[in-house]
């Protein structure tokens, strides 16, 4: 079982490193842009959705859904400091809401 947890941690770290490199390539300016990046927002929502709501996608094995989710979460959360924060929070709130709706209302 620990091997799965190791894979999850590794995937998150690889996602974070990729996110850091991509973000520095995309934003070379010295200041922080406070607008929400739509691409990051979509990635964050998909990532958090896969991570928290993997049982809803029964056609994908759970560990693959969680791994992809953690990679995408890492990609956004690991962005250059100051970027990807709002997107992460919005993605997490949407996914937690979906989780709560499916677990407690349906």
């Amino acid at each position: 079982m620990e091997i799965l947890y190791l894979i999850y941690v590794l995937v998150f770290i690889i996602g974070s490193i990729a996110g850091l490199l991509l973000s520095y390539k995309k934003h070379m300016e010295p200041f922080i842009i406070s607008e929400i990046d739509v691409v990051y927002l979509v990635l964050a929502i998909i990532g958090w959705f896969l991570f928290l709501n993997f049982p809803l996608l029964s056609f994908i094995p759970s560990f693959i859904a969680i791994s992809i989710g953690l990679f995408l979460i890492g990609l956004v959360i690991g962005a250059r400091p100051g970027y990807g924060r709002k997107e992460t929070v919005i993605g997490a709130i949407i996914s937690i809401s979906i989780y709560l709706v499916f677990h407690f209302l349906i």
Binding site: E2, I3, L10, I13, S16, L20, G78, A79, R80, P81
Partner: protein, 287 residues
């Protein structure tokens, strides 16, 4: 065969998870101080970076100790992984590991020949007071559960509920130990910024990489132990949430508390231990 694979997987997991948690610790401290702070993976990248940096050795270093002590530091925390998550062995071995950790701090400081290391070396002797809460905590747990084995303590909690309710003062003692080990802790007198990086000051290159690796593993193991012996079988989600919450709490404390001077640090740890030990014994007698 499987045991070796289990140990290897757990050590890598402890290193990676511990590094991420220490990165989170640094990030939270930065946010409290109104700085953006480095990314969460910064601690891990730092640790890996040191393995590829040039290693240089001070002329004043006592070489066998200077190198050997780092190997011992890595060795004891790998032992911590084996005794903790892998085999769920005795808490007395964990106490021994922590005692050796203090000896490592002492010898690491003295072996480099640096004055900063030497001050840290002397402070490591003082800070042995940090072991008192751990020993008192183990003694209280033994009185309650009748065992020092982590597996027995987990089994006890599965039947009687989490020990945090039965022995909250013992949990405070263990938390004090965790706080002592956290970066920028008010009790971290051996690594005070007044002595640069204390016993680590003169260790560069791959030696510093091994020290950072060991510290990540140590942080993971201490959090794992706290959650295991006070909250019982909580599952992976419980461990993840628990580790993040404890890291966040220690980051809040460390960001808002100045570092104590050595005698205050020792007396504070001693007082916390005494109050919690007497309180725990009184609670045991009454309940």
């Amino acid at each position: 065969m499987y045991l070796m694979a289990d140990i290897l997987i757990n050590v890598i997991l402890a290193f990676l998870a511990g590094s991420l948690l220490l990165g989170l610790h640094r990030k939270i401290m930065a946010r409290i101080q109104l700085r953006p702070g480095p990314p969460i993976i910064q601690y891990l990248l730092h640790s890996l970076k040191f393995f590829f940096k040039e290693s240089s050795f001070p002329k004043t270093a006592s070489m066998p100790f200077y190198i050997g002590i780092v190997v011992i530091l890595a060795g004891i925390w790998v032992t911590g992984v084996i005794v903790g998550p892998v085999t769920q062995g005795s808490l007395m071995i964990i106490f021994g590991i922590y005692a050796i950790h203090k000896i490592v701090e002492h010898n690491s400081g003295s072996s480099s020949g640096s004055p900063y290391g030497k001050v840290s070396c002397v402070r490591a002797v003082f800070s042995a007071a940090g072991e008192l809460p751990l020993f008192a905590c183990i003694a209280i747990l033994f009185l309650i559960t009748g065992s020092m084995n982590i597996s027995d303590i987990i089994a006890y909690q599965a039947v009687h509920g989490p020990l945090i309710y039965t022995a909250p003062l013992a949990a405070i003692m263990f938390f004090t130990l965790i706080l002592t080990k956290s970066p920028y802790s008010p009790f971290a007198i051996t690594k005070g910024k007044d002595i640069i990086s204390g016993f680590e000051t003169e260790h560069y290159g791959f030696l510093r990489g091994f020290i950072m690796l060991s510290e990540s593993v140590a942080w993971y193991i201490l959090l794992w132990l706290f959650l295991t012996i006070f909250f019982g079988p909580i599952g992976i989600i419980g461990y993840v949430i628990g580790m993040i919450v404890i890291t966040a709490i220690t980051a809040f404390i460390n960001a808002t508390t100045p570092m104590l001077n050595p005698n205050h640090s020792v007396m504070a740890q001693f007082t916390i231990t005494l109050v919690c030990l007497v309180g725990s014994i009184v609670m045991l007698l009454i309940l």
